[in-house]
Each structure stands twice: as structure tokens, then as C-alpha cells.
Symmetry: C2
Subunit: 132 residues, 2 copies
């Protein structure tokens, strides 16, 4: 990863532009109740720091999902307390100290459960909505 | 509608068994943030009372969505305040006084907006979840 200023792309993981990105969100809210599941999913392929998690969700959702610091860090605290993620200090790509989060085995199980619940709930809601 | 005791089906709109139905819910929560949309949808084909709305959502979702009084009535109050539904007293199928809720024109517009937001958000979440 690196910073590509020509295209205005922000690949830099931890810097002052975090606030800017959060402030310019054009979407309403994340669907409540889904943030923990999304954070677990963001860590399913390897450790990441908070900024990296937010960027992952934004990129994979094609900019529909914007997760601000004020909801991301409380979510990570909840997941730590539940034992679904663990954290350790490391050095980010641009040589800054950052807390890296890793999915635990229990966290991987939890992700599967939450995903199942989510899909079942969405199918039920869509059945209601599609009824003429 | 009527009460069919042979099959243990509860069609009676407003009676003491309401509490029983809520107490035996086997699902976790309704996906938060979707209740108002679902209540608007439940009224899209005509007026109904609170119990009827809950029964409609349960039936159409094949028993996945269970809406208790403690969340349904605050939701109806919010929708009344927003002008998306209106209410008037009437007589239910089994001859009891009940408050009947009706979707307003603004409510119908709101339902379309919430549905659009919901579908877009769900598609985004599913894109994240399905990424290997």
C-alpha cells in the first residue's frame, strides 16, 4: 500500500486525513447491529489496524459503508472483551505505532453465527417487503 | 379472521394471549433500524391495529420476525409524530375497541425511501461478506 496523490486515493493507513474521510460521508447510517459482524469479517483474512478496517469496509462496499472512529473503536473494545479479537501494538506501513487487531478462533465462529442470523433476518424482511 | 383453537393458531386480534406470543419468541432481535419500515409496509394494503400489524409481520416473514408490544407501540408513536401514519378508534373483528392505524401519503413515500436505503445497505453488506 502507498499514497497515490495523483488520483486523490488515500491508501495511507494512519494519518490526519482520517477525520476528513469521516466528515465527508454522504450515506446515512450503517445498518445498526451489523457493525460487529463487519469488523470481524474485515479481520478474517489477517490482522489490521482501525484505519485499515474502516478503509477495507469502505472499499469492499464500493463506498456505501462508512465507519467512523466514534463507532469503530467502541466496537473493537466490545469484540476484545468478548474474546473475538485480540490486539497488539505494531508498526504500520508508514512507520507509525498502531494497534493491530486479529480475529481469534472464537471470533471466527462468532462471525459465522452472525452472518447466518443476518442472512436469515434479511431474507425474512425481504419476504415482507416483496409481498404485494 | 377468527380463533382456531384446534390447531393452536391465534387469529384473535386483541386479547390476553398477546403476552404469551411475545414471551415465546425464539428468534434474537429484529434487525435494528428496520422496524419502522416494516410497520409502514404492514399498513400499505390497509388500516390495521397493533396486534394485527404484529401478526402480519410474523405471518409474512414465516415466523422469523417477532415484534413485541414494547417496541411496536413506541414505533407507532414515532410514525404518528412524523405524520407517516394516522390513527383512529374503531371496533376490531371480535368486537373490541382498538386503535386503527392508516398509512398517509407521506408515509407511503417514506416507505419507498426506507426500502431503497435498506436494499442498498444490504447489498453493500453482502458484498463485504461474500468477499473471499
Amino acid at each position: 500500500m502507498g499514497v497515490d496523490r495523483r488520483h486523490g486515493l488515500l491508501h495511507s493507513p494512519i494519518d490526519h486525513r482520517w477525520e476528513t474521510i469521516v466528515a465527508t460521508r454522504e450515506t446515512p447510517d450503517l445498518l445498526p447491529g451489523t457493525l460487529d459482524m463487519l469488523v470481524l469479517k474485515a479481520l478474517a483474512n489477517g490482522s489490521n489496524h482501525g484505519y485499515g478496517i474502516a478503509e477495507y469496509l469502505k472499499a469492499r462496499s464500493e463506498s456505501v459503508l462508512h465507519v467512523g472512529e466514534s463507532s469503530l473503536y467502541p466496537a473493537l473494545q466490545r469484540l476484545l472483551l468478548e474474546g473475538w479479537v485480540k490486539a497488539e501494538w505494531g508498526t504500520s506501513e508508514n512507520n507509525r505505532r498502531a494497534r493491530f487487531y486479529t480475529l481469534t478462533t472464537a471470533g471466527r465462529r462468532q462471525l459465522a453465527l452472525e452472518r447466518e442470523d443476518f442472512e436469515r433476518m434479511v431474507r425474512a424482511i425481504q419476504r415482507v417487503l416483496s409481498h404485494a
